[in-house]
Symmetry: C2
Subunit: 246 residues, 2 copies
DNA sequence: TATGTTCTCTTGATAGGACATACTGCCTTT
DNA sequence: AAAGGCAGTATGTCCTATCAAGAGAACATA
């Protein structure tokens, strides 16, 4: 036993101690220093090894358990989850996901307008009658292959948006630069078959399978910032996630 | 301000205090006692009102923030998220979800066998060569309408399974009764179009959209317990979830 | 030998305190 | 009147302590 994960923590760093521990254990798992199935030292010893208190150690392990990397069992111990599980679905944009994967996505803005919100949009974004929104549709390609067709509505009282920005970067990056701190999003994932409008844009045939996603995002002030309806080619995209028992 | 949510906590209950607080605030939100957008008292006052320590109060609020019901902002306070957001996707079976919704699902066992696992299954469940698994396909209906077609592989060294059980209750209930404590599951959601085998079973036409899900579940000992491939009628089912910024 | 009890190890829950840091609004100063 | 600084307030982080409860092994007893 006594898996010596000799990670060092920097008490002068602005990064919280528990988060440094999270990162340290994560990388130890990914580098294979902590192989799947191995048991960690108990919380008290680990805390002592790193000169931390047990609550701080526990908080770090809480996060790792929540993210699915560790499993705990009272009276027994804590061990690394056997297989490499996927990262949980996070609040990020498709653009972020792709660039993080090393791909180079391109975006084509198919339509762009600044219009008065219709009733369904007003309800989704909780806007008063007469409020205006940005409405646009984009086509995202990776390696020249079309992947997603995205239609979004964004409230206009946050930051100005124009077509050039949308072509150059992801929507979430634009909004974050505009001062939005996203807090949560609710989304629904389903399926449909490509219709005559979608098929040629996605370079597929009508009748082929598409993954659909509807999402509404909320910022830290409780405002509904953005709502959208996206479709993805089912042969190129799926949603992976890890569910953790509470 | 000073939203007096007069919930009472029972210190003699085996339910942890922080969880009683979670349930209390959840119900206060759902009953409208805490309307969307309202601010809660600060953590210290709330803890004092309930005769709890701040760590306990914080732990309760942590859960509510994680589940997307509350948003916190340093220096400002904590408020109820504006709109009713969906419950996050949890580690539960379709059967549980449906019965919790008041529906009465029925299950038809289309095939059932106890066979030697093939290579892909062995890999998914991390079984040695020659290990045996239960393999079965089920058709789930709600209100007489077919909803899902499910194919599963379950390791056989946990609890015996027979056809009659599968017809009467959900797979996860059977496994839980057999002593399995689920910890996490990784799943992938995508789309496909109904083929000639699926369409008549789901009482739809070949070429209509289906939502697909592949899932592998892990128990608290790190064993891969179950893997399966499910398809759902896209017109009757979709996955809803809430993503929370960490 | 089989069974039941106890002991130990580990995680789970709770308390209470101390200091850090971010946001808001007011008040002062220019 | 506008800009800057300061204080108040709330959450964020971290600590020391302590008891509870589950699991499993060791041990004693019938």
């Amino acid at each position: 036993m006594a898996n010596q994960l000799n990670l060092s923590i920097d008490r002068s760093s602005p990064v919280p101690l528990y988060h440094q521990v999270v990162q340290g254990i994560e990388s130890a798992i990914h580098t294979g220093l902590l192989p799947p199935g191995s048991r960690l030292d108990n919380e008290i010893d680990l805390a002592a090894q790193l000169n931390l208190s047990r609550p701080t150690m526990r908080k770090a392990m809480d996060e790792l358990v929540r993210s699915g990397l560790l499993v705990r069992k009272r009276g027994v111990g804590t061990q690394v989850v056997s297989s490499q599980v996927r990262r949980p679905l996070e609040l990020s944009s498709l653009y972020d996901d792709l660039t993080n994967n090393g791909s180079k996505p391109t975006t084509e803005v198919l339509s762009f307008s600044h219009i008065e919100a219709d009733a369904p949009t007003r309800e989704a974004l909780q806007l008063p009658a007469g409020a205006k929104v940005y409405h646009f549709t984009r086509l995202r390609k990776v390696g020249g292959k079309p992947l997603a067709l995205m239609e979004n509505w964004v409230r206009d009282d946050i930051t100005p948006i124009d077509e050039a920005q949308l072509a150059a970067q992801g929507l979430y990056a634009i909004l974050r630069n505009g001062g939005v701190n996203f807090r949560l999003a609710s989304q629904r994932i389903g399926a449909m078959v490509a219709n005559d409008y979608q098929a040629p844009l996605l370079e597929t045939e009508p009748g082929l399978a598409l993954v659909t996603m509807e999402r509404t995002a909320v910022d830290d002030t409780g405002r509904m910032v953005e709502t959208g309806h996206h479709v993805y080619r089912a042969d190129s995209y799926s949603f992976e996630m890890t569910l953790v028992q509470r």
